[in-house]
Subunit: 276 residues, 2 copies
Amino acid sequence: MRLIHSVAELRAALRGETETAFVPTMGNLHAGHIALAEQAKQAGRPVVASIFVNPLQFGASEDFEHYPRTLDADCAQLAAVGTDIVFAPSAAEMYPEPQTFQVLPPLAGELCGAQRPGHFQGVATVVLKLFNIVQPRYAVFGKKDYQQLFILKGLARQFNLPIQIVEGETVRAEDGLALSSRNAYLSPAERAEAPRLHAVLRAAAAQLGSTDFAQIEAQATATLQVHGWAVDYVAVRSRATLLPPQGEETNLVVLAAARLGATRLIDNIEAVSNRV
Amino acid sequence: MRLIHSVAELRAALRGETETAFVPTMGNLHAGHIALAEQAKQAGRPVVASIFVNPLQFGASEDFEHYPRTLDADCAQLAAVGTDIVFAPSAAEMYPEPQTFQVLPPLAGELCGAQRPGHFQGVATVVLKLFNIVQPRYAVFGKKDYQQLFILKGLARQFNLPIQIVEGETVRAEDGLALSSRNAYLSPAERAEAPRLHAVLRAAAAQLGSTDFAQIEAQATATLQVHGWAVDYVAVRSRATLLPPQGEETNLVVLAAARLGATRLIDNIEAVSNRV
């Protein structure tokens, strides 16, 4: 496996490749990321993973400075599953000049975007840059970051990128907690409480046929609050638009973001409404 | 020469090409466009020209509906200079869904952007889409649309597009008027007056060493107004930033936009200041 830090060296390494499969990450990899790398290997070769903690997508009050950086361990994990190239650029390599061009995505103020102004603009901008550097045929993103996945599918489609977006299922701990780099911030007591987020979403999804959505959202929110969570949102949305479901839409997703202490966790579950 | 209307057919025609040279246009071609196509042929092959009147870059009060569409004549001119492919998509082919993803470029509210809100956002968005469809190695744009050229050079650089932007010199009528599709809107009397725009810019550029820039701009503006022009701006700018020159910057450009009757004309001239 090659570790490459410069755009020029990566371009040279990939010259002539037409079936590259790409896994963009911010590093601090866990089994969810590794599953994406394995999925990439099924899609195409060579497999390129990027590790870049993108300053553009962090708010001023967020954890950019303290986001865990574990390059050596990340590379060992990626090598073990047959990743061909790890691209780990510096911020100066990605942004040699101030990034005055940005991608303005839709839904940037919805759901997680409401609490994280500029976040999805930063994500869309860096992913477009990485796509243009790697020029993959396939790019793999996990469903855990559901709104991100939705936005990046739209980015590829609406900007006519010749890239197929591959979706990775969320990998969970045995107790249901979705794997996330931010789980490491949880205290033991918070870690014991954390699986409730998934449990509450499962319960909400099971009710999609019988109750109105606002009540489902309110009930899930109340359950979390009772157990000490600060809830950013619980939302029943259309999978097609990520907006509140219209009329007879039945392919839905229930999404939530909530904080335990200082740690913000997100999760979601796709479900079919059997409304009649 | 092939005329192609669909994205899928164009992608198939260009599969495996690595040295494509691309000339994006809105059609209604004149000798300035044809010079760009000839320049493209020197840069790489195959030469692809696009003809697409992009609704995104027209304001509500602008001439989108009436912009001249002359596909047959355009194709004949392009074929005569060895263009290999003309890509002429419909609006539905370029925008099969509402374009909710946009590129937000810098300087979008400066110069021509001040009078044309959304214009450069629409230009940057459609050019990014066309770049991703054509995947050229070279793309040729004329200096007549100086701000557009500046923005698209930044787009390619900041989004890491593997595309070299080639600059085409402005082609002029014998009396100095820059060729433009919009010249066809001029009455005979307006056409006789129109070369003054270039003459005034030449006079302004000749003064760059001796006078302060605000006075140069004011004098040029006054000269045009005396002769019946409605002046949007005359501006001395840095070629490096397209902002007002700082300190000892000497590589400058003088740009202007002004209207004769209902017709808005733009022009510019690069010049070196000999300020000491």
